[in-house]
C-alpha cells in the first residue's frame, strides 16, 4: 500500500522559553540562531505510523513538506526512518499561508503524486497548533478523514483506526484511500537505522514550485485567506513554588491532595 505523509518543519519546541522571540509588528516569530528547525512532533508520529504500515504491508511512503529549502532536512529525517521518497514544496507564493492555503498546496502536490491508499498528517503542527490542515485537505481531495489516531491498521482494503476520544478511544473504519491525522499516543517514533541514514544522506530532494504542481497563485493571495492574525504576543509565564509540609509523610500527602483538589 502507498502512503503519502505531510510533514512540517517547525522551530525547535525544545529551545529555552527565554530564547523564544517574536516580532509583534510583523506578527512573526524570529527564529533564534544556531538552532536547527525540526520535524513537527505529530508529523513525525505520522511518519512512524506510515513506517509501521510499511513494515507489515510493504509499499511506498512519499513525504511532502511545504516550506523553505531547508525543509529537505525533515524529508530526509522521514527517509532515514523508512520513507522512500520526498518533495519540498517551495515558492514565494507559499509563504505565510493559513490552513486553507496550506491544504490547497498540499492537495495539489498529492494529486500530482497520485496512486495513494492513505494520506497521513500530524494531528496539528507543533508551532501554530491549528489542527485544521488535515481535515481541509481531506475535503479538497474528497477523502474520508479520521482524526486523532493512536493506531492505524490496514484491513481488507480498509483503514481501521483507533481514535482518541476524551474517555478512551473508539475504533473507526474507512475505505481506502482516506486521510488520517495521527496523535502522539501512537508512541515514540523509531530511531533511524543505518540503511535509512545512508539513504537519507544520498537522496536528492526535488523542490516543486507552484507551477510544478499546478497551483493557481491567485488562490493563494492574501485577500483569499480565511484567517487573519490580528496580534501576536509571547505569554508571560509565572511560576510559584510552594512546599507542602506535614508532620508525617502521610499528613504531607493529604495536605497536598487537598491543595490539588482545591486547584481542580
Amino acid at each position: 500500500m502507498n502512503t503519502i505523509v505531510c510533514v512540517k518543519q517547525v522551530l525547535d519546541p525544545e529551545i529555552p522559553p527565554a530564547k523564544f522571540k517574536i516580532d509583534p509588528e510583523a506578527k512573526q516569530v524570529i527564529p533564534p540562531p544556531g538552532v536547527p528547525p525540526v520535524i513537527s512532533v505529530y508529523d513525525e508520529r505520522a511518519v512512524e505510523a506510515a513506517c509501521r504500515l510499511k513494515d507489515k504491508h510493504k509499499g511506498k511512503i512519499t513525504v511532502i513538506s511545504m516550506g523553505s529549502a531547508k525543509a529537505s532536512d525533515v524529508i530526509k529525517h522521514a527517509i532515514s526512518m523508512g520513507a522512500d521518497d520526498g518533495f519540498v514544496l517551495q515558492d514565494p507564493a507559499f509563504e505565510n499561508l493559513d490552513s486553507f492555503g496550506t491544504a490547497y498546496v498540499l492537495g495539489k502536490a498529492i494529486q500530482k503524486i497520485g496512486g495513494y491508499d492513505l494520506v497521513l498528517c500530524g494531528r496539528q503542527a507543533a508551532d501554530w497548533g491549528a489542527g485544521q490542515v488535515g481535515s481541509i485537505l481531506a475535503e479538497i481531495l474528497g477523502l474520508p478523514v479520521i482524526t486523532l489516531a493512536c493506531d492505524v491498521q490496514a484491513v481488507d482494503k480498509k483503514v481501521r483506526v483507533k481514535r482518541m476520544v476524551n474517555d478512551g478511544y473508539e475504533v473507526v473504519e474507512a475505505p481506502m484511500p482516506s486521510l488520517v491525522t495521527v496523535s502522539s499516543e501512537i508512541g515514540l517514533p523509531r530511531l533511524p537505522g543505518g540503511m535509512g541514514l545512508m539513504m537519507a544522506r544520498k537522496k536528492q530532494i526535488p523542490v516543486w514550485k507552484a507551477q510544478d504542481i499546478g497551483a493557481e497563485t491567485s488562490q493563494l493571495d492574501k485577500a483569499n485567506a480565511h484567517t487573519e492574525i490580528t496580534a501576536l504576543s509571547v505569554p508571560t509565564r509565572k511560576t510559584e513554588c510552594e512546599i507542602v509540609t506535614g508532620g508525617t509523610p502521610g499528613e504531607a500527602a493529604s495536605n497536598l491532595a487537598s491543595k490539588l483538589i482545591k486547584l481542580l
Partner: protein, 685 residues
C-alpha cells in the same frame, strides 16, 4: 636408576610413561582444539600487527608479573602471592621438563641425576616449595576465612589449592625417598635432605624405600599429567589463555570499538555469542574470576546488578554451553546437508538470559574494570556491542536513552529540554573571538563541546578557557554555532550510525577549515576525536586543555600569581585519566597556583572513581541501586576535608554540582573546573 627404567607387570616403564603422556596430551589437545574452534566462532578482527611489540608487551607483563603486581594495594596484596606462585611454578615447570621429561621419559637420567646441577636446582625448588606452601596457606585463609568481596569461594579454587599442595609434598617426598634409598646424607636440598633423615630413622627397609621412591615418582608424574588435562577444563585455563590475551591486547587506545557497518548487514552489535569478535571470546578464556573488576566497578559498588566479573563469567559459561551446538551446526552447514540442523534448538537469547538489560545500561564505561584486570580483558566493548544490538537492531532502550539519541539525531546535541540550556554559539556574544565562517582557515581550533557551549554552568568554564588562552596569547578560532556534537554519547549508548555520521561531518568540517590542532575542553570529545576519528580519516593533533595550559605555564606564557589559598582535591575524569593517562598535567597546573593545598582522594589517578556521567549515563537514567555513583564519589571528596573539588570534565563538574546540592553542602563545598581556578589565579586583582 630412573623409575621408568624398570618394568612393571612385565611392561617397560618407558612404555607406561609415554602411553600415559600420550593419553594426557590427547585429552589436553582435544580440549584445546575445542576451545580454539569455539573462539573461531567469533567475528574476525585484526590484531596481528606489530608482532615484535606484542611479544615485548606480553613478556613485560608476564615475566616480572607486572600484570598482577600493578594491582597490589594496601588492602589487597593478593598480587604478590600470584607473582610468587608464577615464579615458583616457572621453576617447577622447567624442573618437570628436565627431571621428569628428559631424565625419565628420554632416559637421560645418567646425565642429570646425582649431578651438582640437580642438587642446586632441587635446593632452589625446596625453597620454592616452602614459599608456595606458605602462599597456599595465606590464599586458603584469605579465600575461606577472610572472604574478600571480590572472590566467590568456589570448590574449584579449593581443589586447585589442594592439587598444588599435593605437588609440593610429592616434590619434597620424591627427593627424600631418593636420598634415603641411596643412603645419601646431605643437608641440600634442605627439605628433601631433612626428610630423608627421618625416613631412614623410621627403620624402613631398603626395598620399601626404593618402592616408596618409585611410587612417589609415578604419583608425581600422574598429578602433573592430570594438571595438564584439568587446566583447560577449569578456570585455570587462564594460565594458557592470559599470555595469549596479553599478546593480543590493544596497543593503542585502551578501549577499541569496532565500527559498525552501515550497510549489508541485518543485525548490529551482539545478540548472539558469535557476534563478538574472536578476541572477545579469548577474553572469556583468560578470565580467572579474580573479581578485581567486581570491587572497582562503580555500578557494582553502588548496588546495581552489573558486575563485570559476572558478565565475563556468564558469557564464558554461555559460550561453553552453546558452543558445541553452534560448532555442530557449522559443520553440518558446510557439508551442505540441510534438514536436522534447523531442528536443533537455538541457544537461549544472550541478552536477557546471560546478560540483562539492566546490567547493560548500568555501565558508565569508566574503564575501572579494564584498568585493574590482570589479564587484559576488554569489558567495555562487549557492553557497547550489547547496547548496539539493543539500540540499532531491537530498538530497545530506556526512554531517557531514546530521548537523548533522538536529540543527537535531530538537534545535533544531547542536551535538549534542560532548564538552564543556552543556544549554540550564544556564549561567544560580546567576546572578541575568531569565529570560523565558510572558507576561513585556522591552525588551532578550540572545540568547546556541547556541554561547554549549551549548559549554563559549563559555559562559565568555557569563558574562563577563552580568557586564559587569550591572556597567554594563543592564536585560536572557534566554530560558534556551527559546532555540533563529536558523537561520543551516541557511540557509548550504542547508536553507532549517528556517531559515524557526526564523525564524518566533523572531519569534513575540520578539513574544510584546514585545522591542524584541536584543543578540547571535554575529555570525552578529546578521546573521541583523538582515538576514534582516525578510523574515519580524521588525523589531527588533539590536545586537552589541561595539557595546553600545563605547557603554557612551563613556557612562561601563563603566569599564575594570585594566591587561592584553598584546600582542594582533584577528581580524575575517566576519559582523561584512565583512557588517556593524563594524570600529571592537571596536578602540575594546581601546583603552579600559589598556596593551593592538594589533598588526594584515596581513589585517584588510575584507580580514580567515576562521577557517574560517562558512557551516555549523563542522560540515561541511572539503574536502581543503593546509592547514586556521584553521591558515593562525593563521600570520597568529603573524606579529604577539601573545600573545593576540582575536575577537568564538564560531565564530572555537573555530577559534583548535583551531588553537592543533593547533600546540602553548597555552602561548604564548591565544584570547580580547573580552568576556572587558572583564570582566578591569573587575574590581576
Amino acid at each position: 636408576m630412573s623409575p621408568t627404567g624398570v618394568s612393571y607387570w612385565g611392561i617397560p616403564g618407558y612404555v607406561i610413561f609415554w602411553v600415559l603422556f600420550a593419553i594426557a596430551l590427547g585429552l589436553f589437545a582435544q580440549r584445546a582444539y575445542f576451545l580454539f574452534r569455539l573462539m573461531r566462532l567469533g567475528k574476525p578482527e585484526n590484531r596481528f600487527d606489530r608482532i615484535g611489540q606484542r611479544i615485548k608487551t606480553m613478556l613485560v607483563e608476564l615475566v616480572p608479573q607486572w600484570c598482577t603486581l600493578k594491582t597490589v594495594t594496601r588492602t589487597d596484596r593478593a598480587g604478590i602471592g600470584h607473582a610468587l606462585f608464577f615464579w615458583c611454578f616457572a621453576l617447577f615447570f622447567i624442573s618437570y621438563i628436565i627431571f621428569i621429561g628428559l631424565a625419565g621419559g628420554f632416559g637421560l637420567s645418567s646425565l642429570i641425576e646425582r649431578t651438582p646441577f640437580e642438587t642446586v636446582y632441587f635446593s632452589i625448588l625446596d625453597i620454592a616449595a616452602a614459599l608456595v606452601t606458605l602462599t597456599l596457606i595465606v590464599a586458603a585463609v584469605r579465600r575461606y576465612v577472610i572472604r574478600p568481596q571480590r572472590l566467590e569461594p568456589t570448590a574449584e579454587a579449593g581443589f586447585i589449592l589442594m592439587m598444588v599442595f599435593f605437588l609440593m609434598v610429592l616434590h619434597v617426598f620424591g627427593g627424600a625417598f631418593d636420598h634415603a634409598a641411596r643412603g645419601v646424607h646431605a643437608s641440600w636440598p634442605p627439605l628433601g635432605g631433612a626428610l630423608a633423615g627421618l625416613l631412614r630413622n623410621a627403620g624402613l627397609s631398603q626395598g620399601t624405600l626404593e618402592a616408596g621412591y618409585r611410587g612417589v615418582w609415578w604419583l608425581h608424574y600422574l598429578v602433573i599429567l592430570s594438571f595438564m588435562v584439568y587446566i583447560p577444563r577449569s578456570k585455570h585455563l587462564h594460565i594458557l589463555a592470559s599470555p595469549v590475551n596479553a599478546f593480543f591486547k590493544p596497543l593503542g587506545p585502551k578501549v577499541v570499538l569496532e565500527p559498525v557497518p552501515l550497510e549489508g548487514v541485518e543485525t548490529f552489535g551482539a545478540s548472539k555469542i558469535q557476534d563478538f569478535t574472536w578476541k572477545d571470546l579469548l577474553d572469556l578464556y583468560a578470565c580467572a574470576v579474580c573479581g578485581r573488576c567486581h570491587v572497582n566497578c562503580p555500578a557494582q559498588l553502588t548496588g546495581k546488578t552489573l558486575s563485570p566479573r559476572e558478565v565475563i563469567h556468564n558469557l564464558k559459561e554461555h559460550l561453553l554451553e552453546a558452543g558445541p551446538g553452534l560448532l555442530a551446526r557449522q559443520t553440518e552447514a558446510s557439508s551442505e546437508s540441510p534438514s536436522e540442523t534447523q531442528a536443533r534448538t537455538e541457544p537461549k537469547a544472550m541478552i536477557g538470559n546471560v546478560v540483562t538489560e539492566e546490567e547493560i545500561w548500568a555501565c558508565t564505561t569508566c574503564g575501572a574494570c579494564q584498568e585493574v584486570c590482570p589479564v587484559n580483558i576488554e569489558h567495555i566493548r562487549k557492553i557497547i556491542d550489547l547496547r548496539r544490538n539493543l539500540v540499532m537492531t531491537q530498538s530497545k532502550m530506556p526512554e531517557s536513552a531514546q530521548l537523548m539519541l533522538r536529540n543527537m539525531q535531530s538537534r545535533g546535541h544531547p542536551w535538549a529540554g534542560i532548564q538552564s540550556m543556552r543556544l549554540r554559539g550564544d556564549w561567544t556574544s560580546g567576546l572578541d573571538l575568531k569565529i570560523l565562517a565558510e572558507g576561513d582557515n585556522a591552525d588551532t581550533l578550540f572545540w568547546v563541546g556541547c556541554t561547554g557551549a549549551l549548559v549554563e554552568r559549563n559555559v562559565k568554564a568555557t569563558l574562563s578557557m577563552t580568557a586564559v588562552m587569550k591572556a597567554a596569547g594563543v592564536d585560536f578560532a572557534v566554530l560558534g554555532d556551527a559546532e555540533t556534537c563529536c558523537g561520543d554519547p551516541a557511540r557509548r549508548a550504542g547508536y553507532d550510525f549517528q556517531f559515524q555520521i557526526m564523525a564524518e561531518q566533523n572531519i569534513d568540517m575540520f578539513k574544510s577549515h584546514n585545522v591542524k590542532e584541536i584543543v578540547t575542553s571535554c575529555p570525552h570529545c578529546y578521546n573521541t576525536i583523538k582515538h576514534e576519528y582516525p578510523r574515519y580519516g580524521g588525523d589531527f593533533k588533539v590536545v586537552h586543555y589541561t595539557q595546553l595550559i600545563a605547557d603554557l605555564i612551563k613556557e612562561g606564557r601563563l603566569k599564575l600569581t594570585n594566591e587561592l589559598n584553598a584546600k582542594l582535591t582533584y577528581h580524575d575524569p575517566c576519559y582523561l585519566g584512565r583512557y588517556n593517562d593524563v594524570y600529571l598535567e592537571p596536578r602540575r597546573i594546581l601546583q603552579a597556583i600559589p598556596k593551593t593545598k592538594l589533598e588526594e582522594m584515596e581513589r585517584s589517578r588510575a584507580t580514580g572513581f567515576c562521577c557517574g556521567g560517562g558512557g551516555g549515563l549523563m542522560w540515561i537514567e541511572e539503574q536502581p541501586g543503593t546509592t547514586k555513583i556521584n553521591q558515593m564519589r562525593l563521600e570520597d571528596v568529603i573524606k579529604t576535608g577539601a573545600e573545593t573539588v576540582v575536575t577537568a570534565c564538564p560531565y564530572c563538574l555537573q555530577m559534583f554540582e548535583d551531588s553537592i546540592e543533593h547533600k546540602g553542602l553548597k555552602d561548604s563545598l564548591k565544584a570547580r573546573d580547573l580552568v576556572e581556578l587558572v583564570e582566578a589565579a591569573m587575574k590581576q586583582s
